[in-house]
Each structure stands twice: as C-alpha cells, then as structure tokens.
C-alpha cells in the first residue's frame, strides 16, 4: 500500500508539472493574439496571476459576452463528459463482444464478417454518419428527439442524449481498434500455459483469460482514446447542436473571447491528464497484484 502511495504521488507530481508546462505555453501563445485576458502582457507576474486564478477556479467574467465564465463553461464541460463517456461505453459495448467472438471462433468463417463490419463502421466519417442518422431518424421515424438538450429538457431529456452518444460511439474510430486489440490479445492469452491448464481442469477459458486478455488491453486503449474522442466530439456537437465544450470553444474562437478559450484549454488539459493518471494507477495496481 505504501508503495502504491509513493507511485501515486510521483505520478501526481508529474501530472501537475505537465499541466503547469501546458499553461505556460498557452500563456505565451495567447499573448501573441489580439484581445485581452487575465495577466495579458504581464510577463512572469501576469502568468503567475493567471495560474492563481485558474487553480482557484475563479474565472471571472467574459469581456465579450459579459457573462460569468464559470456558469458558461462548467455545464458545457459536463455535457462533453457525458458525450465522451457515453460514446466510449457504446463503443466498448459493441466492440468487446466482437473481439471475444473473433478470438474464440478462430476456425469459424463467419467471425470475419463482424470484423469487416467494425472496420466499415469506423471508416465512415463521423459528420457524415451524424447527418445520415439525423436525416433518417428525423425524416422517417421521429421516435427520438434529434435536437438540442434545452428544447426537450421538459419532456424526457435523456432521450435527446441517445442519438449523439450512439453516433459518436459508432463513428469514433475506436471500435475497430478495440476489436483488433482485444481479439488479438485474447487469442494470444488463450494459448498461454495457464489458460490451457485451466481448460484442462474443465474451467471456462474466457474466465481464466479475462484479466490479461480483455481488461488490461481495454483499459489501456479506452483511456488513451479519450483525447481523440474529445476532438471528435466537436463535430458531433455541431451536427447535433449539443451544448458542449467543443461548440463553446469554436464560438469563443470566432468571437476572440480569449478568457473563455484559455479556460476551456485548461480544463481539457486537466481532464485528459487526470484520465491518464487514472489509467496508469489502475494498470499499476494490476501489475503489483502479480508480485
């Protein structure tokens, strides 16, 4: 346990250093742009001032829109989190069974059809898939709300979450990667000695190989996909008019609203680095359980 704490504090210090470094770069590049924000043009002192404001979460008021930045950014951040994790969940839900199936049925010829399906799904651009789904659902069925969280919030708000989450879950290119990684790893692990030994004792092969064959590759790939999915979310947020961080950032860029932009960038860095830290710690605890 003490070793876990030691590693955790080391990783945490690493993460903090990275966040500080990224904010420094942000500060430098934002200084080059026209406009104004906290500590602009103040040199080192201005940077420290900015850091203080960022880490105490006192973001102030946007000079462009005149609104409180915190009340602007945090709901958008929450919506993006929902979209990211929801879509990852959908991807995992679709990809893992296909991966298991293709590893299990090495000799069956029909598992390749599922793999091909996963590649096709992953190769469709997400904006195309989004408009296609919107068109089909809105025009022919209409049983799911296609638009705007705020408009349908009075009825059943979660229904309007379904389409964007499913579209991003299908369209981010992680399905084919998860299928390939989980399938390959599972197939490798299933021929390891301890799994064969478990099979020889009449136990379930999948149960014996679940840790090394599924959980560990899945954790490492899912967490490393999070930054890309945040990037992909910008497109989906636009297509579905989802009030998330990507849309907010886009709008802020057009308005040259630097205070909002720098805070969005800061929150993204914080979020991505936190998930990486989480991944490292989970994998570490798995590895120490061996020795």
């Amino acid at each position: 346990m003490s070793r876990f704490l030691k590693v955790f504090s080391r990783e945490l210090a690493n993460a903090l250093l990275l966040v500080i470094g990224v904010t420094a770069i942000l500060y430098l590049s934002f200084n080059l742009m026209p406009g104004t924000f906290i500590g602009k043009g103040g040199g080192v002192e201005g940077y420290l001032n900015l850091l203080k404001r960022l880490f105490s979460f006192r973001f102030g008021v946007s000079p462009v829109s005149g609104r409180d930045i915190k009340s602007l950014v945090l709901p958008a951040f929450r919506n993006t989190l929902l979209l990211t994790f929801g879509s990852l969940f959908v991807s995992v839900l679709i990809a893992v069974p296909i991966g298991i199936f293709s590893a299990y049925r090495r000799f069956k010829s029909y598992s390749w059809a599922l793999s091909i399906f996963s590649y096709i799904i992953s190769s469709i651009p997400v904006f195309f898939l989004g408009y296609l789904v919107l068109y089909v659902v809105a025009r022919y069925t209409g049983f799911l709300p296609v638009f705007s969280v705020s408009a349908s919030a009075r009825g059943m708000p979660f229904l309007s979450f379904v389409l964007p989450i499913v579209v991003l879950g299908l369209g981010n290119d992680s399905i084919s990667e998860i299928v390939r990684l989980v399938g390959g790893e599972l197939e490798r692990v299933m021929s390891l000695d301890y799994v064969i030994a478990a099979k020889a004792r009449g136990e379930n092969m999948l149960q014996a190989s679940v840790h090394e064959g599924i959980v560990i590759p899945l954790i490492s790939i899912v967490f490393s996909k999070i930054p890309f999915i945040i990037g992909g979310a910008v497109v989906v947020e636009h297509v579905f008019n989802w009030p998330g961080m990507g849309r907010l950032a886009f709008q802020a860029t057009l308005d040259r609203d630097l205070p909002v932009l720098i805070i969005i960038a800061f929150l993204s860095v914080l979020f991505v680095r936190t998930t990486t830290l989480l991944k490292d710690m989970i994998l570490y605890s798995y590895r120490t359980s061996e020795s």
Binding site: F107, V195, A197, A200, R201, G202, Q207, H211, E290
Partner: protein, 385 residues
C-alpha cells in the same frame, strides 16, 4: 484383474512443417492402458512425444493436423456417463461403434475428419469439425474425470488471481456449492493435504510469490480438487531438488491411494518413475519401444530388455557407483529427427546390439512389439519369435 479406466490405442499425432513442407510424425502408434488405482509411468528422452501423448489424451492439441488416428477409451464416473453419451451422439447421423464394455471412445468421430493419401504422403483433416466434436466430448470429461498437472509450473497458474480463488474455482467444478465459507474450507483442506501448512496465508498470495515447489504443490491441489478418475502428471518434478522431487512423488502416491484415482506420470527420469509406477512405458522417437511391469523394466534380466531401456536404466547411477566415483554412463548419439522417414528401427544408430546378421533386418524393417512374457512387450528384433 482389476478394471480398466483408460485405454489408448494406435494414437497417431502428426504436424505439418510449413518450412520443410512435410509432415512430422510426433507420435506413431502409441498404445497405453491404465487400470483403476494404478500408476503408469511414461519415460523417454525430451522430444520423444510424451507430452504430445498426454495433451492428445486431454484433447488439447489444436495445431494442424494434430491427432490423426487412434482411439481413446475411457471409463467416466457414473454420474457423468449420460452427459458423455449425449455429447458423443449429438450431431451424428451415423451410429458409431464407440463402446467397449464400460469404456467410451473419446476420439469418436475422428475417422470422419481425417483422410490419408498414400502417394505423396498427405493428411487431410477438417480441424473445425474435429475441434467442435472433440471439444464437446472433452468438455464433459475434463476436470471431473481427467485432469492434468502441467510441465511448466510457474506458468500454469494465473498470475492475476490469488491462489485461494483459483483453488475455489477448481473446487466449484466438482460441487456447485454457493457457500463461500464451505468452499474456502475445502480449499484449505486441499492445501493441507499437499502439505502446505499455512493455508490461510498461502491462499491470499499471488502465484508469483510462490516458490517452484510450492506452486507445484498448489497445482497438484488444484488438480485433486475435482477428484479426477485419471490424473496425468507431466514432468511433475522438473526444476526441483532431489528431496523435493521425492516429496512431490510421495504426495502424488498418497493422494492417489486416498482419492481412488489412477495416475499417469510422465518423466524423462526413470529413477523417479520407478519409485512409484506399477507399469512403465518407454517411448523413443514417437514409438513405444517397451512396456511391462516395473520389475521387468527396471530390474529385469539383462537379456530381456530393449537396448534403449537398458541404456536408460544404467544411466542412473547406483549408490555403489557413486561411492566408487565412477563416471556417469551416457547414451551415445542423439534423438533422431522426427522428420526423417526411418524405414527400420529408430534406435539403430545408437544401438550396441545391432551387429552382424541382425543389423540388416534392423535397417530395413521396423520391429513390432514382440511379447516376451505376458504383459511385457519389446519392440526389438532381438526378441522376435
């Protein structure tokens, strides 16, 4: 005569070598019978096909073409017989002749999947069909009826799961008891029975923290958990020091007595096998070259043994040899390459007795298993007729 529990007949296992584009005869025409509560030893040098024989009995070979011939008769426990018959009959249009008294053929349906062509020599096998069929049959047998202790001790335990939960999982295979405390108690009992005296402590350990001897014992405990009718122990003493070797062997013998279990013990060390086995099979280059009772094999008259067995036995030094400081005897030459199509006796290049007139026969024709006395057979022209 006591009842047979397993009988392997004419087992053939071939593999295909992609590089050389030819078939490798890993095991050729191996037969083996195990009676109830009997210990059978399978002895031979590395690469002679001992482990392949064991794996094919467990239905664990999935390389191509793998098992291509033979029958494996096995007597299941009373309560599993119905399920086995169901598995054998399922999906069959033809009626198979797969019963021999109380024994059932676990390789049933193999002939439908394999076709031989004589010239050029090819084996065509439908591995998908065979694995499905054999998998269905072996699913009923593995664990509760046949179990195996693997050669590679360190890698045969799941490194991500504690020893305790692996044991509990194995116990669950036998009795589907939901009571966790009862299962844990039974697991501790098993660990005690393999002489691990602090079971509560060991149960919470991960396999990487165990020594080789400990993990060997844990593996034996796991194999015993399901009270199998037949246990195959593949090199159970590799990597252990001499005292531990004998402890593990004693342990297997003890548990065999207690659990009404038969044991097939596979080793390259005839000195270890002879302390426990009732019958010994000697393998060489994929063939059984001699089998008989322990007495006949180990201490038989000098002139009634296969030359290979004789060399194998005399390469184990006796106490007197060690005291006198004699050099260890070795068998000259190396194990022949299985890819070679040997026409005559595979042991010929290393044989001391193949001299004079008999040598021509040795070179041209492969000897049969000639019966010397009842139950003692030798594959050598010296004992023909």
């Amino acid at each position: 005569m006591s009842r047979q529990i397993a009988a392997l007949e004419h087992l053939k296992v071939y593999f295909y070598d992609q590089g050389d584009r030819r078939f490798i005869r890993a095991v050729e025409d191996v037969g083996l019978t195990v009676e109830q509560k009997q210990v059978v030893g399978l002895v031979g040098e590395s690469g002679c096909g001992k482990t392949i024989t064991a794996l094919s009995m467990m239905g664990l070979i999935d390389g191509e073409p793998g098992v291509v011939g033979g029958r494996f008769f096995f007597r299941p426990k009373e309560e599993d017989r119905r399920a086995l018959i169901f598995a054998i009959m399922r999906g069959n249009r033809k009626k198979y002749d797969c019963r021999k008294g109380e024994l059932f053929d676990l390789f049933c349906g193999l002939d439908d999947c394999v076709r031989f062509d004589a010239d050029p020599f090819t084996v065509i096998k439908d591995p998908e069909k065979w694995l499905r069929k054999n998998g269905r049959i072996m699913e009923q047998m593995r664990g509760r009826n046949i179990s195996m202790v693997f050669q590679n001790t360190r890698e045969a335990l799941n490194p991500f799961v504690t020893v305790g939960s692996q044991l509990v999982r194995a116990v669950q295979c036998l009795e589907n008891d939901k009571n966790r405390a009862a299962l844990a108690a039974r697991a501790e009992e098993l660990l005690l029975s393999v002489r691990i005296f602090n079971p509560g402590y060991v149960m919470n350990m991960y396999p990487d923290a165990l020594s080789i001897g400990m993990s060997q014992r844990v593996l034996i405990a796991i194999a015993l958990a399901s009270r199998p009718g037949l246990l195959i122990a593949d090199e159970p003493t590799t990597g252990l020091d001499t005292t531990n070797k004998h402890r593990i062997i004693d342990l297997l013998g003890e548990n065999m007595e207690r659990g009404n279990m038969s044991l097939v013990i596979i080793s390259h060390n005839i000195g270890i096998v002879r302390t426990i086995a009732d019958r010994i099979y000697v393998m060489y280059a994929g063939l059984i070259v001699e089998h008989g009772n322990k007495k006949e094999i180990v201490t038989g008259r000098k002139n009634a043994r296969h030359p290979y067995t004789e060399a194998l036995v005399s390469s184990v030094p006796t106490d007197a040899d060690i005291k006198r400081g004699k050099k260890l005897k070795v068998i000259e030459g190396v194990v022949p390459d299985n890819k070679m199509e040997t026409e005559g006796c595979p042991f010929l290049p290393r044989c001391r007795y193949a001299k004079g007139g008999i040598r021509r026969k040795c070179r041209t024709r492969r000897p049969e298993l000639f019966e010397v006395t009842s139950g003692h057979r030798i594959r050598c022209w010296l004992f023909a007729g």
